[in-house]
């Protein structure tokens, strides 16, 4: 989810940028990952990619060929190698799959949030001499968060439940699979399902509490006056 939100906000900013290349990349990304069902994407990451490439290496372009040509160890210019088949069954593959897919949805939510902030805000910041990046980070995004948080709460909860799709990769230490299996082992299928249900309820409740705190933080200055500020104001009034 963190990967999703982070990447999503970056994509939203790219999408609204003046630069056509950034805009295009963000659009294609959103198009691709929104169009693919999560389950299919997870199977693709867990099973599909492994057939094509058994390991991923990051290094100098044509580093291996270059190293062979000058007669040294081919791996000299390879900085980082990932054994995909080992990686694909770990929780990281699941995080990568769900995160990439989530980012596409978050990009649209963040874009809506940014567009909801009055243009005058960015203009006021720019008139004060703030460069565009800082204007976005300090003035526009904090205000956009007010609009972004509620749908992000939705997405987070949906994400918790979508972890049950991780079995597609397959990752077996996932909640639903474990609970279901546990029930089958002891011929107590329904108790297993009930246990899974309860766990999902508990986790989502905790997240909802977190969301309400976030909403209060980003809603400051809007709507009803928070208690603490009110106290300070009356104190100041009393001093005069």
């Amino acid at each position: 989810m963190v990967l999703g939100v982070g990447l999503g906000v970056v994509l939203a900013v790219m999408r609204l940028s003046d630069n056509p290349v950034l805009r295009g990349v963000a659009f294609v990304y959103t198009w691709f990952f929104r169009a693919i069902p999560r389950y299919v994407l997870l199977v693709l990451i867990g099973v599909g990619v492994g057939f094509l490439y058994s390991s991923l290496s990051i290094g100098l372009p044509f580093g291996e060929q270059l190293a062979r040509a000058i007669g040294i160890d081919p791996a000299t210019f390879t900085f980082f190698t990932l054994d995909w088949n080992a990686f694909s069954t770990t929780i990281w593959a699941g995080i990568l799959g769900l995160g990439l897919s989530e980012a596409a949805y978050m990009a649209e939510i963040a874009r809506a949030g940014i567009l909801s902030v009055d243009r005058g805000q960015a203009e006021a910041a720019q008139a004060l001499g703030m460069p565009p990046g800082k204007t976005m980070r300090r003035i526009v995004l904090p205000q956009a968060m007010r609009v972004i948080v509620p749908p992000t709460g939705n997405e987070t909860i949906a994400m918790v439940k979508d972890t049950s799709l991780l079995i597609a990769i397959p990752i077996i230490n996932e909640l639903f699979f474990q609970a279901y299996n546990f029930g089958q082992r002891g011929f107590k299928i329904l108790p297993g399902l009930v246990a899974a249900t309860l766990w999902y309820l508990i986790i989502c409740s905790i997240l909802m509490v977190g969301q309400s705190y976030l909403e209060r933080y980003f809603g400051r200055g809007f709507g009803p006056v928070p208690k603490k500020a009110k106290q300070e104001l009356t104190k100041i009034g009393a001093d005069h």
Binding site: A125, A127, L128, G129, K134, I236
Partner: protein
């Protein structure tokens, strides 16, 4: 058109005549189609390389804007920040001033605009007049060489206009260079060194207020001023009517010695 340091210029003209656009061109919130603007010797927004103009990078434009303060018609205070945070934001983030110094200066400026008692209020808790005064303090916190005012009082209730104009008047007395777009004729007459009348995107007439407002040469200026005067008069009459109406209502009310209508 030239504006000297320390001069107060008021731009007048019917809506749509390009006053606001002109102000926004000065600090590059609007891109310029033709013509050039220099502030303190710097060509704004462009680099002149042997005759051809190249748009400057955003960073350079931001740097040019630092010396120009601007107040908007709709204030545009940052609603998620308190009054004090609004004022210290730019000095700390743009100029890298230490928090302690910025706060001291901000409190001084808030004192100057008559809001020393509200540093921890959020903009939504202030009246329009107070918000505009905070906006002025926020702009002044950057030590601008030039202040631009874009109809600073036209979004305000009539009884709040005075407090904002007073702050601007004090600012003018302190020797600030100001370009003001306004419909406040009284302010223009009293404070402006020069009045510029614009219509349909061009300057029609300019000169000291006594001439442009008192004795306009162009028909368009005259028509505009006559319309403004009519409006002012209609407004004054409306106020008088309400006041006399209220007085009449008071007089007509049954005078019960107990003073309590339900008794």
């Amino acid at each position: 058109m030239d504006v000297r340091a320390g001069e107060v210029v008021v731009l007048l003209g019917p809506s749509g005549s390009g006053k606001t656009t002109f102000l926004r061109c000065i600090n590059q919130l609007e891109t310029i189609d033709g013509g050039r603007i220099w502030v303190d010797g710097d060509l704004m927004g462009y680099d002149d390389r042997s005759g051809t103009l190249h748009r400057l990078r955003d960073k350079h434009i931001a740097a040019q804007r630092r010396d120009i303060g601007m107040c908007f018609q709709r204030f545009n205070l940052f609603p998620h920040k308190t009054v004090l945070e609004n004022v210290v934001e730019a000095p700390m983030q743009v100029k890298g001033v230490k928090k302690k110094e910025a706060t001291a200066k901000a409190l001084e400026l808030l004192e100057q605009v008559g809001l020393a008692d509200k540093p921890s209020a959020y903009p939504a808790q202030l009246s329009g007049g107070q918000q505009q005064r905070v906006a002025i303090a926020r702009a002044l916190a950057m030590d601008p060489k030039l202040m631009l005012f874009d109809e600073p009082t036209s979004a305000l209730d009539p009884e709040l206009v005075g407090e904002v104009l007073k702050v601007m008047r004090d600012l003018a007395k302190g020797g600030m260079t100001m370009i003001v777009v306004t419909h406040e004729m009284g302010f223009a007459r009293e404070v402006a060194d020069r009045v510029v009348f614009m219509d349909a995107g061009v300057v029609v007439e300019e000169g000291p207020p006594s001439e442009v407002i008192g004795n306009p040469k162009h028909a368009r200026t005259r028509a505009f001023l006559a319309r403004m005067r009519q409006e002012e008069q209609a407004h004054a009459e409306a106020v008088v009517a309400t006041v006399t109406g209220a007085a009449q209502a008071l007089a007509d009310a049954p005078t019960d010695p107990s003073g309590d209508p339900q008794a």
